[in-house]
Every structure is written in C-alpha cells, then in structure tokens.
C-alpha cells in the first residue's frame, strides 16, 4: 500500500525530529547548568573580592602603626638592636611586649606546590614534546616545581663567558656608564690586587686565589688562599681553595691532611666531600 510507505516516511521524519528535540533540550540544559555554574563562581568571586577589599582597607588603616622613624640613628647596629622598643618592631618578633629582648628573626620561604602532571596533561588538549623531568615523585606524574634556580641559563652563560641574550641587558648597557662588562682576566686580577693593597680584606685575597685557580695557576692560588686564611681563618672557602691548589700541585697527601684537620674542627660536610673527591682523584 502506498499509504503505508508514505506513513513510514512520515515516521522516519518524526523520529529525526524527536532526536533533534532531545538534543536541543539536552544542550539547553547543559548550557543552563554551565551558565549557572559560571554565575555562581562570579558571585563567589565578587563576594571574595569584597571581603578581601575590606581586609585590604583595614590593613591600610593599620599601617600608620608602622613607624619608620629610627629609635637611634647614630649608634652602631649592635646597640641599636638591643635598644629597640618592642612596639616598633612590626611583623618581626614573636616576643612582642617583652622589653629589651632581642627581636626574633622571622624567616619566610615559599612553599612550592606539587603538581600532578599526568592529571594536568590529561586535561590539556595541547600535546607538547616537552616533558618536565619528574623530581621527588612519590607517585608517577607528580612533580614539585623547584624553587627558582635564581640564575637562568642565560645568566649562567654570562658567567661562563658565553653570549648573553637577555633583552633587558642589551637595552641598558648604553645608558648606564658605570657598568664595566668587558674585563679581561688580567685586568681583573690587577684590579683585585689593587683593592687588596688598599683594604687588605681577606675577601679580596680569596677572590684572587679563585681567579688564579681558574687560570690554573695553582701556585699563586695556593699562596693567596693561604693569605686569605691567615687574615680570616673562618673563611671556609680559603681552606678548600688551599687544599684544592695543593692537590692540583700533586701534594695530595698534604691537601687531605689539611682538610681532615679542618673537618675535625668544623665537621662540615663540604670538607668531607672534598676529601673524598681528592682521594678518588676526581678533582
């Protein structure tokens, strides 16, 4: 019967319409859900900002408490610390209110987050070839963002004498005259020598020792390291540099002896590590 065929066509058309209607309503519901979610987040955010703003406003009101006037200007620093009134110490001391007490040093460090890279990668639609090396992973995929290494690759390159590509650096060299970027090692050594001659600081001597060591002039480095050490026996680096120079000059036994006695005094792990390094000829 043609009628039935016609009816069947109508039925197909009806089915398609039904599916489209369902998808339409489903889509509408999803959009409505998303819209409400976004609206909720915004409202939440506005509330939070409002709360934060009132907090900020409050803190502004309180800043007058931050007295910057010095208590004592002329006295040396050590005396100043002792005579500071507790109320003038802001945010620093746990022992506020205790008169005459030495302010307690508060140290802050950032707490680096642990990121579940696998989870984040799954969320991401952009696949990149770079995969961050996982450090301290208890489970796979978890990485701890390391604290800033402070010296970026470009900066390290500068120290190592390679080309330096930072744009801010190139921008500024022209304007600031006082920065001397181009120094040869001879100039450097001479400069430091002059400085040492004027101020006789152990730091200068140590710098010289290092410069000579870098130039593989181990005799000189040994000499200057010793000088630095005589001026300040607490200068840790001077000990190491002295021992290293000795070792490089072939006097390993002496180097180890010196380091061992230093280690017995101070028990520094770095000293021990150096001893092992010299012993294993990995210097």
């Amino acid at each position: 019967m043609d009628n039935i065929r016609e009816l069947e066509k109508r039925w197909y058309y009806y089915k398609v319409k039904k599916i489209l209607l369902f998808l339409n309503s489903f889509g509408f519901v999803v959009m409505l859900g998303l819209g409400s979610y976004y609206a909720f987040i915004k409202v939440h955010l506005i509330e939070n900002i409002f709360n934060t703003e009132t907090l900020l406003v409050k803190s502004e009101i309180e800043t007058p408490k931050l007295t910057v006037e010095p208590v004592l200007v002329a006295k040396p620093i050590e005396n100043v610390i002792k005579s500071i009134e507790p109320r003038e110490i802001v945010m620093a001391s746990k022992n506020e209110g205790i008169e005459g007490s030495v302010p307690h040093e508060v140290s802050l460090e950032p707490i680096i987050p642990i990121i579940d890279m696998e989870k984040e990668e799954r969320k991401s639609t952009h696949t990149t070839k770079y995969r961050a090396p996982s450090r301290q992973t208890a489970q796979s995929g978890l990485v701890r963002a390391k604290p800033s290494a402070y010296l970026t690759a470009s900066e390290l390159a500068t120290i190592n004498g390679k080309s330096y590509s930072s744009s801010s650096h190139s921008r500024d060299t022209r304007s600031i005259k006082k920065i001397n970027l181009n120094g040869t090692s001879d100039n450097y050594i001479e400069t430091i020598k002059k400085k040492f001659a004027s101020n006789k600081q152990p730091r200068e001597a140590l710098l010289l020792a290092k410069a000579f060591y870098a130039e593989k002039n181990y005799n000189k480095s040994e000499e200057w390291a010793l000088k630095a050490n005589k001026l300040d026996s607490n200068l840790e680096e001077s000990w190491y540099l002295f021992a290293k120079s000795k070792a490089k000059l072939g006097q390993k036994a002496d180097a180890i002896k010196i380091l061992t006695s230093y280690y017995k005094q101070r028990h520094l792990p770095k000293a021990k590590a150096l001893i092992i390094k010299i012993k294993s000829e990995r210097l």
Partner: protein, 183 residues
C-alpha cells in the same frame, strides 16, 4: 543551529584545558617573563587554583613586573601553605616599596625588622636597613655574606623622562649577571 549546539557541547570540556601544566613547564624552564605573562593571561580561568596562583607569584617575582605578584597574593589563603606563600609575597612586595621610598624620597628605614626571605630583594633590604653597604656616587654596594662571590648594586635610574626606576644589579665574581628594574 543543532550543529552549533552539538559543536559547543563537544568542545566545552576542552575549554577547561590545563593551564597549570603549561605554566609549570614555563616556570621549570626558567622562562619567568613568559610564565608571568601566561599566568596573567589565564588568571581568570584559574583563579581558584592555589597551585596556579603560587606559580603565578613565583614566576612574576623573577621579573621586573614584581607588582604583579599582588594579584595571586590576595587570593591565596585556602590552605596553610598558600597562606605562607601569601605572606612571602607580601613581605617581598613591602620590602620593595620601602626600599623604593628610601631610595627616591630618602625615607629612613633603619632598624626596621621585617621577616627575611631568600629572595634577592629581601637580602638587599636587610643589608640596607642594617647599613651594611658602601655608598659611592649614589650607588649602594652590598656584599652577600652567604655567597661571597656575589655582590649587589642598588641605585636610581633617571635616564628615562619622568620615570624613575629602582635598579638592582647582581654580580658574581665581579661579573654582571642580572638586573632588576623596578618602577
């Protein structure tokens, strides 16, 4: 119209792609300026993520636009670690402001004890407050007691019209390695 809806439905999950992993990667590569710009760009989508905010702050901390750390700083606070990070950021920001005041306006900030941080600004602030510097030709020079090879210079840069910048130059073994320019 239906097609459009279906398309939207299919792609909405991907609108929530992970900015956090991208930001982390940039931070790990030490591309701090890129990371900071990226963090700012996708801030709105991720402002409820404490990890995102922390990385945002840490990245922008290493740039000249240190004032940007204020944004994540005010939002961090849902957990103990995020509160600690917020204090860390706000301390550094406060130290920068005070140092700038001291430099530009001669404000006395001697004997001021703020919490210390390992960030360069904090170090310089503490050395400045304790007057452990050598002042010559308007440049404050500091030596790092913990890293003997490092020295720092603090001075004002007036070379631009109507704009003053607080400059911090870092030297390692007398070689210039990094500069911060703060306005």
């Amino acid at each position: 119209m239906m097609k459009a809806i279906l398309f939207i439905l299919m792609t909405t999950p991907f609108l929530f792609s992970s900015n956090l992993s991208k930001l982390y990667k940039l931070y790990e590569k030490q591309e701090y300026l890129k990371a900071c710009d990226y963090a700012v760009k996708y801030y709105n989508k991720n402002k409820n993520s404490e990890k995102y905010l922390t990385l945002y702050g840490l990245s922008c901390l290493e740039t000249d636009k240190i004032y940007r750390i204020a944004t994540p700083m005010i939002r961090l606070g849902k957990s103990e670690s995020s509160r600690a990070n917020a204090s860390y950021f706000s301390t550094i920001l406060l130290q920068k402001q005070l140092l700038r005041q001291a430099l530009f306006d001669g404000k006395k900030i001697d004997d001021l004890h703020l919490p210390t941080t390992n960030f360069i600004l904090s170090k310089i602030f503490n050395l400045f407050v304790n007057k452990e510097y050598v002042l010559k030709d308007g440049i404050y020079k500091f030596e790092d007691k913990d890293n003997k090879e490092k020295t720092y210079k603090l001075y004002i840069d007036n070379s631009r019209k109507n704009k003053k910048y607080m400059m911090i130059d870092i030297y390692k073994d007398e070689k210039f390695i990094k500069r911060y320019r703060y306005n």
